[in-house]
């Protein structure tokens, strides 16, 4: 599994635990507002994402995320740039 795919799986796993939904449901309906995505659950997810993926997120960007994919995009590692000589 690539790093990006692994990060997506981790995000899905954490969000499904926080929201009490299956990963399949989250894939089918990725808009977070359709679940109990409130200040408590979102901060719970934030703590878990930061701890598990060893990242530090900007809270403004985190709260601007509307979908599961938006969150994956926030936390996924930046692509390695080819070195230009």
């Amino acid at each position: 599994m690539s790093d990006a795919a692994s990060v997506a799986e981790t995000v899905l796993d954490i969000l499904s635990g926080v929201l009490d939904e299956t990963p399949d449901d989250l894939r089918a309906r990725p808009v977070l507002a359709s679940y109990e995505w409130d200040s408590i659950s979102s901060l719970d997810a934030l703590s878990q994402l930061e701890s598990k993926l060893d990242v530090t997120l900007d809270l403004r960007a985190f709260h601007a995320a509307r979908t599961v994919d938006d969150i994956v995009a926030l936390v996924k590692p930046a692509p390695v740039q080819a070195e230009v000589v």
Binding site: G17, S39, L43, S47, S51, K52
Partner: protein, 617 residues
């Protein structure tokens, strides 16, 4: 699956089955430090409903958002062997809720505090005196609120946030502010001295020793959450220690291995002169462990020696090695032999008449620890292997032996239990147990609870599990209140014999109605069972009730997993079972059942209290 995954699955299964998580899972849960795991566990365990664990009702009032504190505390309390019900108070209404008692009827209330409660909204960094006056006023406000409450409250000291401290750019002003804050925390700590119903934990020093940041500015600004998950775990653990001490879930016995635990090296290989003890590292680590165990013993923890070794060599080393702190007499029971340690610990528990549930076992050998854990999972097993520099922390960090107050009986307990072992030997020379008991000269001293004995009486309620007739654990505040209320009676029972004074070992709480006296609970330490003391107590109660004009004395027995030893008590005392666990005694024709070998005395032993003190003849 990871160990954490297995643990969470086991917790889910227990919740689904409506049973308590097994002792091994509870032990594993109590060792979890990861806030995320504790949050998950707490969320699962919020649905736990079982009669297998003693219930603890907790309210949490906060000057801020409590965040995940509820889940973390839930997990910590189940790990300690309790079934918590945690009710958070309404947000933004800390003072009002505390003032009006709007938090139901919990066993205790945790007050989660942070700096905003004590600071003026627009404090001025130039006016340090004004800053100090405001903090002082808010401390007085808190003190007033706390003083007016009668519920058990748990408060904590408050860290001075860096953002406040560093707003003062002058070194002199910053030192003054630090002093103001130290005085604030001193004032919060003093509330525990001023009020019996208040306990204070020192969060500031706990956080100083924790490898986590106290604050995440994002969570603070966004969610009014002043503490990180890590800080909340540290706080919840301290609250768990309080609940554990209050609910009688603390341990009483420390069983210690010798080789590579109380000293470095293997005695049988290196001899007494070769063991590492005293001097520089690593010998000093073992000395400090021995000193720590000695300090625990001074506070009532019973020490047991459990070593696979040559008994004569151990005795000689403990007696004559100049650096040994724990001499042979420090141990209330000794098991130095080649038998399995689980067997030895079980035998030591029997000798001491204590449950193995009250044991903590410290050993360097993974084999011995594993064997004891497998045979006696209820024993808390601690690892003494690895760097000996950590030994003292390993022993103390969890707070296994915490009590709310230290009583005289606590201090004397190790000696009492050592005497008890001698008493067992004495008993072998008699033809019948009556001969033995008569020769023992049992004296029962009865006194109404007073300001000196209330703490010990409440402690007995919290810690007595076997001879505990109804399981109602009257705490210190409730006991103090009943002891002065004309409609109630609280009495303490002390027992002594030719081998020594056991101190206060029993207590009774009675609702003294005009016609019917109802025993709300009667507890008696297992140390004195088998001597008929409980029958003498029942007789005294009957005499006292009759003297007051009552016609019936009523008792109850509420069975628990541990109190079967007391199931027959009311019947043996002449009471009639009227069903539903209620027993009554008609005071018109009650027999005297006090055993002939017991002498009853004490200031309140006479039914007519005006007769004054009775002295033993």
């Amino acid at each position: 699956m990871t160990e954490t995954g297995v643990l969470l699955d086991n917790l889910r299964a227990a919740v689904a089955d409506g049973r308590a998580p097994g002792v091994t899972d509870r032990d594993a849960l109590s060792r979890v430090k990861d806030p995320l795991v504790l949050r998950k566990a707490g969320k699962i365990l919020a649905k736990l409903d079982t009669a297998d664990l003693p219930p603890v009702r907790v309210a949490v009032l906060a000057t801020c958002t409590i965040g995940p504190f509820q889940q973390i505390l839930q997990a910590c309390l189940v790990g300690a062997g309790a079934l918590p019900t945690i009710e958070p108070g309404p947000y933004g209404m800390f003072e009002l809720t505390l003032a009006t008692g709007g938090f139901g009827d919990p066993d205790f209330v945790v007050c989660l505090l942070e700096e905003s409660y004590f600071l003026a909204a627009d404090w001025d960094a130039v006016d340090v005196d004004g800053f100090g006056r405001h903090v002082e006023k808010r401390l007085a406000d808190l003190s007033g609120l706390v003083g007016r409450s009668s519920t058990n409250l748990v408060l904590h000291t408050v860290p001075l946030p860096a953002q406040v401290r560093d707003s003062f750019i002058s070194w002199r002003a910053r030192a003054q502010v630090a002093r103001i804050w130290a005085r604030l925390n001193e004032g919060i700590l003093a509330l525990a001295d001023e009020h019996r119903h208040v306990a204070v934990l020192d969060l500031v020093s706990v956080l100083a020793d924790s490898p986590c940041a106290a604050r995440d500015d994002r969570l603070h600004r966004y969610g009014d959450m002043p503490y990180t998950d890590g800080a909340l775990v540290a706080l919840a653990n301290e609250v768990r220690r309080f609940a554990q001490a209050k609910s009688g879930l603390s341990r009483k016995v420390l069983a210690l291995d010798l080789d590579n635990t109380l000293w470095g090296g293997v005695l049988g290989e290196v001899g007494a002169q070769g063991v590492q003890l005293g001097g520089l590292y690593p010998g000093n680590c073992y000395t400090q462990l021995q000193r720590t165990a000695q300090r625990l013993r001074g506070q009532g923890v019973i020490l047991v020696l459990a070593s696979k070794n040559d008994a004569a060599l151990v005795e000689e080393t403990l007696t004559s090695h100049p650096e040994v702190v724990l001499r042979p007499e420090a141990f209330s029971a000794t098991a130095v032999n080649w038998s399995p340690k689980a067997e030895n610990l079980r035998a030591a528990a029997e000798t001491l008449s204590l449950s193995t549930q009250s044991f903590v076992f410290l050993d360097d050998s993974p084999f011995e620890r594993g064997h004891v854990s497998a045979e006696l999972p209820e024993i808390a097993v601690l690892a003494a292997d690895g760097d000996p520099a950590h030994l003292v922390r390993t022993l103390l960090a969890h707070g296994w032996f915490d009590v709310l107050d230290l009583t005289d009986t606590d201090r004397q307990r190790p000696v009492l239990y050592r005497t008890r072992a001698l008493r067992s030997d004495f008993s072998t020379g008699f033809g019948s147990s009556e001969d033995y008991l008569t020769a023992l000269g049992v004296q029962l001293t009865i006194e109404l609870a007073n300001e000196f004995s209330v703490a010990r009486v409440a402690q007995l309620a919290a810690r007595t599990n076997q001879f505990n007739l109804t399981g109602i654990r009257f705490d210190e505040a409730a006991t103090a209140q009943r002891s002065t209320d004309p409609g109630h009676l609280v009495a303490s029972f002390a027992v002594a014999d030719r081998f020594g004074d056991e101190g206060i070992v029993g207590a009774v709480w009675v609702d003294t109605g005009a016609d019917v006296w109802r025993v709300e609970n009667l507890v008696l330490s297992c140390r004195v069972l088998g001597r008929g003391v409980e029958l003498a107590i029942a007789d005294w109660l009957a005499r006292r009730a009759r003297q007051a004009g009552a016609t019936t004395l009523e008792g109850r027995f509420v069975p628990s997993k541990k109190n079967s030893v007391a199931a027959e008590f009311w019947g043996k005392a002449g009471f009639t079972n009227t069903g539903d666990g209620v027993f009554t005694l008609d005071l018109g024709d009650a027999d005297d059942r006090t055993p002939a070998w017991i002498t009853v005395g004490g200031a309140d032993s006479q039914t007519n209290v005006l007769e004054g003190n009775e002295v033993f003849g």
